[in-house]
């Protein structure tokens, strides 16, 4: 377990850059991002499609698919770098220390292998127990994630489970070796709306009980508001704002975060209002210079096109926006 006396974060990502070399030049999908996750903390990661959320998760667990690669930066887990440690070492971390949950429970399980076998295999990869003990643990895990009649269902195949039940199995698999960090990449997007809340509640409760930290990637600001301790907002491969969840939601500083918050449906009123931010996120091939958000930003001013803003403390959060750089603003005449 981590050293609690010096409050070292569980995961520290520093200046991470993920690139795809292509014939027509290098695409930068994750551009120099830094953030951390503390032991037991839930960090929400939001942003439009293509912002680089999934790639960030894949980079952390060392599963970027070639030709994608970590071009620079460091990923530090529990005080040690894990971005350059070689296959066998990172493999031992996967599932054991850092687990991952994918979006689609229907395709995340091997259709030809029983749920129990997939569980015991994972358990025995990381813990030295015999098949019987592993099976007992598997049943225990299925019980824990709320699957009824676990003793019987442990011998069934994935197709015999519904979508929601399969995502519970996926969670059980992620928890199998008691990891310290779970990267959950849109764990409920593929599910029925009625089941989404159940799964999120379950994930939240289990991680609290086990003291597991979570990097929760989602499009759903409602889920973030209920679940996360802190939230990072990504745009075009960069983190544009990060801070405690209530502050980011109530007092968003970055114009993009503002736009996102406005797009949360407000159902309290008679009419559901949903304001979208005009325009679309740029493609990797033509990310604007300066602040990547500038073509869509309602508050854009001249300087925004010239240089990229870094994250700075603004109130209770940190935002990357020239609005909060007094010297730049002063130089602006508009």
């Amino acid at each position: 377990m981590g050293d609690t006396t010096n409050a070292q974060p569980l995961l520290q990502v520093e200046n991470l850059r993920v690139e795809f070399p292509t014939r027509r030049g290098t695409l930068v999908a994750v551009d120099d991002i830094s953030f951390h996750i503390d032991e037991g903390e839930v960090l929400g990661v939001v942003g439009e499609s293509g912002a680089g959320k999934s790639l960030t998760g894949a980079a952390i667990i060392g599963l970027l698919e070639p030709p994608g690669r970590v071009a620079s930066g460091q990923i530090i887990f529990d005080g040690a770098r894990i971005d350059n440690i070689g296959y066998e070492k990172i493999r031992r971390l996967r599932g054991n220390q850092i687990a991952m949950i994918f979006q689609d429970p229907l395709t995340s399980l091997n259709p030809l292998i029983t749920v129990g076998r997939q569980l015991t295999e994972t358990i025995r990869t990381h813990v030295s127990v015999d098949e019987r003990a592993a099976r007992e643990r598997a049943i225990e895990l299925l019980n824990e994630v709320g699957i009824p009649a676990a003793e019987r269902r442990v011998d069934q195949y994935p197709h015999q489970f519904s979508g929601g039940m399969r995502q519970r199995v996926v969670i059980a698999l992620a928890l199998a070796a008691n990891p310290r960090l779970i990267i959950a990449d849109e764990p409920t997007t593929a599910l029925d709306v009625s089941i989404q809340a159940q799964i999120i509640t379950l994930l939240k409760r289990l991680c609290k009980e086990h003291g597991t930290a979570v990097m929760l990637v989602t499009h759903d600001m409602g889920v973030i508001a209920e679940t996360a301790d802190r939230v990072a907002v990504m745009y075009a491969g960069r983190i544009v704002e990060v801070g405690p969840v209530q502050d980011v939601i109530r007092h968003a500083q970055h114009p993009y975060t503002h736009g996102l918050m406005n797009s949360i449906p407000v159902v309290r009123h008679d009419v559901e209002q949903l304001k979208q931010i005009d325009g679309a996120m740029p493609r990797l091939t033509d990310i604007p210079s300066g602040c990547a958000f500038n073509p869509r930003c309602p508050k854009v001013f001249e300087y925004c096109r010239d240089a990229r803003p870094e994250l700075v403390d603004v109130g209770a959060t940190r935002a990357a926006c020239w609005l909060y750089d007094d010297t730049r603003r002063a130089g602006d005449t508009t």
Binding site: T107, Q160, M165
Partner: protein
């Protein structure tokens, strides 16, 4: 499970009846059987008499029923050319072809599948590229050419292996076998290699394509993200999921091995059914042709049945027998 198999069996019987019908039609439409039996100098009265005693005046359905009833017992009458029962002629040749096809199929599987897995896992490796290039040659060269090349190299130049015939076989309770002695086995190597090459490359390419496909799936990514070893992921999870298409193709290919065997047997003068069939065609030996058709159809049907049962064993999603339902 039982209903599944029963349904399959019924379909198989229908297929066999259809083929039997075609085989039977040969007698009526390809040449006149009477001519073949009584000789040219027979009088019209003699022909009429033969026609009657052979039942050729009976209505068509009756004739077909009689043919089918006999065929089921393996009785296809006398060979016009060899003047021995067809069953005997085929019985002498069947082991040669079955052994040839068996050895070729085993070679194709034992070499093709591992090569496919290898080239799938090492997509961009130099060895993979070389193998794929060679496999293109294997697929595009005609069988007889490969056979002749092999004979040239291994029989004529090197003198290692016999170039034709079955060589020294061992009699196993009436089944002449090439597989139990090294001397016998030497004779089967070249024909089997020739016969298997096309299927081997096909299988390798299929397994490779399937592996690439499966390796992209979410459950493979998830398996890796759980820290399973490469071995467990590649062989335990990925390979298993490529098996269904591999079994389908293998089943179909065993069928075409029997068909291709005709060419290979000709090149190597291998005394199998294919050679018998070719000679039968030359001599319009209809009983032999009919029997060959029925036998090949029967083998196809049996293979298909085995394939279906294997599916069932591999893929739990087919076992819809109510042992559990999504809810």
């Amino acid at each position: 499970m039982l209903t599944y198999i029963v349904r399959r069996l019924l379909q198989s019987v229908l297929v066999l009846i259809a083929v039997g019908f075609i085989a039977f039609s040969l007698f009526s439409y390809v040449g006149d059987p009477i001519n073949n039996m009584v000789g040219v100098e027979a009088t019209d009265a003699e022909r009429e008499w033969a026609r009657k005693t052979l039942g050729l005046d009976d209505p068509f359905p009756v004739q077909f029923a009689r043919f089918a009833a006999k065929a089921v017992q393996g009785d296809f009458g006398q060979s016009y050319r060899l003047s021995i029962p067809v069953a005997t002629a085929i019985g002498e040749r069947l082991p040669a072809t079955l052994e040839l096809v068996f050895v070729a199929a085993v070679m194709a599987l034992l070499i093709g599948v591992p090569l496919g897995v290898y080239t799938g896992l090492h997509r961009d490796g130099a060895i993979s590229r070389i193998l794929l290039t060679i496999s293109l040659i294997g697929i595009s060269l005609p069988t007889f050419l490969i056979g002749i090349l092999l004979i040239m190299v291994f029989s004529v130049w090197l003198g290692w292996l016999p170039s034709f015939g079955r060589g020294a076989t061992v009699d196993l309770w009436g089944w002449e076998s090439n597989l139990v002695s090294w001397e016998g086995f030497k004779s089967i190597i070249l024909p089997a290699v020739t016969l298997c090459l096309f299927q081997l490359t096909l299988l390798m390419r299929l397994v490779r394509a399937e592996m690439l496909e499966v390796l992209r799936t979410d459950y493979i990514k998830f398996a890796r993200a759980r820290g399973l070893t490469n071995r467990a992921v590649n062989f335990g999870h990925a390979l298993k999921n490529t098996l269904v298409p591999v079994i389908t193709i293998t089943g179909l290919q065993i069928g075409s091995l029997i068909a291709f065997a005709i060419i290979t047997e000709t090149v190597f003068q291998w005394p199998g059914m294919g050679l018998l069939f070719l000679q039968a065609i030359q001599f319009v030996d209809i009983p032999v042709m009919a029997a060959y058709l029925c036998l090949v159809a029967f083998i196809f049907v049996v293979i298909n049945l085995i394939v279906d049962i294997l599916y069932y064993a591999i893929d739990p999603r087919l076992r819809l027998d109510g042992s559990g339902h999504a809810h």
